[in-house]
């Protein structure tokens, strides 16, 4: 029932023993020598090939997950070819400037990618002992990020967005404005953008591509496109293919790569679909119990490695279903990533752009990337002070709606004023691009409205140096 062919060193086995087709899964019986996670090619009755991988083997039954739909397959005539190797992606420097589908095949009408290397799309775990702690400050031009939640090279930072919130707009703006600021001032390092569109609309993807084109970054960008109308299951592969390309460009070609993945919520839904098809026990809200590990296998592929010049920085977009930050997708993401930028619907309605809610936002790698030699020595304490006042101001705002401004003390009033100005000027900067110096100057401008004795978070020497009065 099966034939063997020699392809170089690889042995390919072909079977016609499909016993069941269920959702994206195919069950093949009476197989032998099948490897876990092996790539398979499924040839349908019309002679077209679709790829998939082995999910499970039990005695002589292999369970295969197709990356495309199972439509048009039948039990008797479908042939399944086991390739003897895991799923790999052709990677090459010439990918830059190309538009590929969610599996990494060109769809821009250009020639095939000439592979310089074939890489396992699952990557391999980085040895934590060779990671370099991310400490190079990336200036995004956005005060709420640079001043309060700084991004470092090699970091993975998600934007928690929601339907109707400008998450993608913000990501595109960051991609266009991001610069590395260091004491050496070396800004001309080779960079690249890898853009993975996961189940987003054509409108959204063309917005991104247009943005890349207008900022001149398109020729340094690799685009992986899986649209909302493309097969769901392909979404499992798209971010992995994109990260494999990014790792190659970073660690083998020495580029500083910014990976933008949008929208991870679609990825998680594909994961759930697959899990349901496998009849696995669900954890929260029907998502599989291993979703944390699965997401980590994507997000942890950011970083810097000793002895390699390049880096992989990830900007991850996800939509919080119903703006719920405790939903499993943002929740598990927040546990893996190094912070999060949270967008707020109320601020959007007030007309603030970018509508970043700084209170739940965080950057875990900020401390190593700011301060003397990176940005400025007062950066950390200024950020802490702004946070303290703004949090207090938000509380006061609530209080005022209940009991009026009458009972506020003088200092309360100043803090309330501060927090309003902060939202309007500091966060609501519109589409302008601010340097970190401008952001810090604005901070001191606002802080100087409050008597110095209340600036408890700022050491006295910085107050003497920067306080404006």
């Amino acid at each position: 029932m099966h034939e063997e062919e020699q392809f170089g060193q690889l042995t390919t086995k072909e079977f016609r023993t499909v016993s069941q087709i269920r959702g994206p899964l195919i069950f093949v019986e009476r197989v032998s020598g099948v490897a876990y996670d092996e790539m398979v090619e499924v040839v349908d009755p019309a002679g077209n090939t679709r790829v998939g991988r082995v999910l499970e083997v039990d005695n002589n039954v292999a369970v295969i997950q197709l990356f495309l739909s199972t439509e048009g397959l039948d039990i008797s005539r479908t042939r399944v070819r086991f390739t003897g190797d895991v799923t790999r992606l052709n990677v090459s420097h010439s990918m830059l400037g190309r538009i590929l589908n969610g599996l990494g095949k060109p769809i821009d009408g250009g020639p095939a990618i000439l592979p310089e290397k074939l890489e396992d799309i699952n990557g391999r775990p980085l040895n934590p002992a060779v990671r370099i702690e991310p400490s190079e400050f990336i200036q995004t031009g956005i005060s709420a990020i640079d001043g309060l939640n700084s991004l470092a090279r090699g970091q993975k930072l998600p934007i928690f967005s929601g339907s109707g919130l400008p998450g993608n707009e913000l990501a595109a703006q960051i991609a266009a404005q991001a610069r590395v600021i260091s004491s050496k001032g070396d800004q001309d390092e080779p960079f690249a953008v890898v853009f993975a569109a996961i189940g987003i609309t054509h409108r959204e993807s063309s917005y991104f591509i247009e943005q890349f084109r207008s900022s001149g970054a398109l020729e340094r960008t690799v685009v992986f496109l899986n649209h909302a109308d493309d097969p769901t299951i392909e979404r499992i592969i798209t971010p992995r293919a994109a990260l494999t390309a990014a790792e190659y460009l970073a660690y083998e070609q020495g580029l500083h790569v910014l990976v933008i993945m949008t929208d991870i919520t679609n990825y998680c839904e594909a994961l759930r679909e697959l899990s349901v098809a496998r009849e696995e026990l669900p954890a929260r809200r029907g998502y599989p119990g291993y979703m944390y590990s699965d997401l980590a296998s994507l997000y942890e592929r950011a970083g810097r490695i000793e002895g390699h010049p390049g880096s992989v920085t990830q900007l991850i977009l996800l939509s919080m279903p119903d703006d719920d930050i405790t939903h499993p997708i943002p929740d598990l993401t927040g546990y893996i990533t190094e912070g999060q930028i949270v967008l707020n619907r109320l601020m959007k309605q007030k007309g603030t752009y970018p509508p970043i809610d700084v209170l739940p936002s965080l950057s875990r790698l900020m401390n190593a990337a700011i301060g003397e030699g990176h940005t400025r020595e007062d950066h950390r304490s200024v950020a802490d002070q702004i946070y303290a006042f703004y949090a207090e101001g938000r509380d006061l705002e609530k209080l005022v709606t209940i009991i009026g401004e009458g009972s506020l003390s003088e200092q309360d009033r100043r803090v309330l004023e501060f927090s309003k100005r902060f939202e309007k000027e500091y966060v609501g900067q519109g589409h302008s691009n601010r340097t970190i110096q401008e952001t810090l100057d604005l901070s001191w401008d606002m802080l100087s409205e409050i008597p110095a004795q209340y600036l408890k978070r700022i050491p006295e020497e910085y107050i003497r140096r920067y306080y404006k009065k």
Binding site: V31, A35, Y36, E300, G334, P360
Partner: protein
């Protein structure tokens, strides 16, 4: 066919492999089913497939064995062989552990990086400890001495701060017939013990121990002494004893890792074992980068010299996460047995629980709550109960009539291992099974709070939800001050009052409060901002010794007392709120440690001076 593989120092050679090997019959992620073994026991360590992936037998059913594989099973084929090593998963214990970073299976990550580059390969190719390295061994026993398991044979200067004490391993007792002095590698024996039946047993500087078994000790001792962490909110309000266990639950971004890292840095213990279990790689890089540069406060020796790191980051194989926690605690127990105070930090136990859940679900077990296996709580209990303050083995010799009179009196050796586990509850909701099960076992509970972290109040330990069940008041009474407990009670009291008063303010505004009540709000604010809040990165504030913490608390409460007295005489709250001393109180954190206590005592009298001046001023204006 022969197979040789390294198990720590020993190279184990197995003959007749074909006879002993089983065959792969089922692969589902980290779970592999196999048949065809002649002999196999539960928890035997096996090597799976041609790549020799490390696995452990977790279920036996007739001739079928179910194996949990600690490595990525991609590419593993049906019918590949599985070799049984006949031994359980062990930790290799000996000099050279300190300052190292291992993965959950105790593979030395730095050594592997040099050999394999940036990405991790599979299989065991390096022994955990450097076998070729020579150590200076100085004996403390001599020929003819009687020894039992746990007896210290000699010492090795392992690092600048740790003297490694070579102990007699389990199963060996008798009379020393040879003891060596000088420089040896782990392959050389340092002593020979003649057992009762005249057998000569060689003793090496290294030994191994199955990670799932607690190492034995003589007896448990009471928990009487606090583990000073240098975090004021912990040391003052919710102290953890040496040998106790604590959990830190908190949603993402509430600062679990920052607290764990600062405990690793500043806790007053001899040895720290830090287990990064299913967490971020960049955070491990941060710890690794920082520890060699940070110096111990008292000795000035870089902290890396007392630290063992175990990293099983979130993208490394899931099943090895489960092993990493046990690996960490076994290494910790080994140093406890030498007589050290050990702190083991596990970040995060939720990832360990999730690994348990994943394997359980692949085994198709009937799930308990939230899909976690029904044995989750008992596994957690087993783990947390490995913490303790003990009298080590060897402190008392078994009575043996035939033995000659003891040549010297053994001194009592005590050690402790304290355990701090981070918990990452989904959505920050403490009703999740791991938080709830851990809470029942651990005696200390530091609840992290979203609200506090959002306003950047760190450490974000919520003072109304947290607790410490261990009574250490006697120690504080003897070692710090006799009014210590009163002060702590008063602090808790004011913070509790604030909570009530705030609810009133939320409803009807500050105007509804009396001046005395507003004074409580002022003091509680000072307590929160100037005492409980503490920077993790500030040079001086990052570590606060117990006496400074105590005096800071005392200063604030003294102000409280003085203010209340003054208000009774008619001094306005406004004047007190604007008092100059409050500026100084706000800067107490930054007082350098060498004379902090003295300066704080001066501050007490400054308070008296200023408050009484306010009183005089008021009297004058009245007159």
């Amino acid at each position: 066919m022969q197979l040789a593989f390294k198990l720590g120092s020993k190279v184990k050679v197995m003959d007749d492999l074909e006879k002993q090997a089983g065959k792969v019959k089922r692969i589902a992620g980290p779970v592999v089913g196999a048949v065809g073994f002649n002999e196999i026991r539960l928890h035997d360590m096996v090597l799976v497939g041609e790549a020799k992936l490390v696995g452990e037998v977790i279920r036996l059913n007739a001739d079928q064995a179910t194996i949990q594989v600690y490595e990525d099973t991609s590419g593993l084929r049906m019918d590949e062989p599985i070799y049984n090593t006949g031994e359980p998963l062990v930790a290799h214990l000996g000099p050279g552990l300190m300052g190292q970073i291992f993965d959950g299976l105790q593979r030395p990550l730095t050594t592997l990086a040099k050999k394999e580059g940036g990405f991790l390969g599979r299989g065991i190719s390096e022994s955990s400890l450097a076998m070729g390295k020579a150590w200076d061994f100085t004996p403390v026993v001599k020929e003819g001495d009687l020894v039992t398991p746990g007896t210290i044979l000699g010492t090795i200067p392992e690092t600048q701060s740790i003297e490694h004490r070579v102990m007699v391993p389990q199963g060996i007792s008798g009379r020393i017939v040879e003891i060596k002095t000088g420089s040896f590698t782990l392959k050389d024996h340092v002593a020979i013990v003649e057992t009762k039946n005249k057998k000569h047993e060689k003793v090496f500087m290294e030994q191994s121990w199955p990670v799932r078994m607690a190492r034995p000790f003589h007896k448990r001792l009471d928990l009487t002494e606090p583990l000073v962490t240098g975090k004021r909110v912990i040391d003052l309000l919710f102290p953890i004893p040496k040998g106790g266990s604590a959990i830190i639950p908190g949603g993402f971004g509430t600062g679990k890792t920052v607290i764990q890292q600062s405990l690793a840095r500043w806790s007053e213990v001899d040895v720290v074992v830090y287990v990064g279990c299913g967490e971020r790689g960049n955070e491990m890089a941060e710890v690794l980068n920082e520890l060699p540069k940070l110096e111990d406060r008292s000795s000035g020796i870089p902290l890396i010299n007392r630290t063992v790191l175990i990293a099983n980051t979130s993208n490394m194989p899931v099943a090895a996460r489960e092993a990493s926690i046990y690996m960490g605690i076994t290494i910790g127990e080994y140093y406890r047995d030498m007589g050290y105070d050990v702190l083991m930090l596990a970040d995060s136990t939720s990832r360990w629980g999730e690994a348990l859940r994943e394997v359980s679900s692949r085994l198709e077990e009937i799930p308990g709550e939230e899909g976690y296996p029904a044995y989750l709580a008992s596994r957690l209990a087993e783990f947390y109960e490995r913490a303790g303050h003990v009298s080590c083995l060897d402190t008392v010799h078994p009575a043996d009539e035939k033995s000659e009179p003891k040549e010297k009196q053994k001194e009592e050796r005590e050690g402790s291992i304290s355990l701090v586990g981070a918990v990452s509850p989904p959505g920050g909701d403490f009703s999740d099974p791991i938080t709830q099960s851990s809470m029942r076992i651990a005696g200390v509970f530091w609840a992290l709070d979203y609200e506090l972290s959002r306003r950047r109040h760190f450490p974000a330990i919520n003072w109304t939800k947290s607790f410490s069940l261990v009574d250490l008041s006697r120690w504080f009474l003897e070692e710090v001050s006799d009014d210590y407990e009163v002060m702590v009670k008063e602090t808790e009291n004011i913070l509790g009052r604030e909570h009530e008063l705030q609810q009133v303010v939320q409803l009807i505004g500050q105007d509804a409060l009396s001046d005395m009540e507003r004074e409580v709000l002022l003091i509680s604010r000072i307590l929160r901002e100037d005492l409980l809040q503490q920077s993790a990165i500030h040079d001086v504030d990052a570590f606060c010794p117990l006496d400074k913490s105590y005096w800071m608390m005392k200063v604030i409460l003294h102000f409280h007392e003085a203010a209340q007295e003054a208000m009774k005489k008619g001094v306005s709250l406004q004047d007190l709120d604007n008092a100059q001393v409050l500026q100084k109180i706000a800067r107490m954190k930054e007082l350098k440690l060498d004379n902090a206590v003295q300066r704080l005592q001066y501050l007490m009298s400054d308070i008296d001076t200023e408050v009484s001046r306010l009183g005089e001023k008021m009297e004058k204006s009245n007159a």
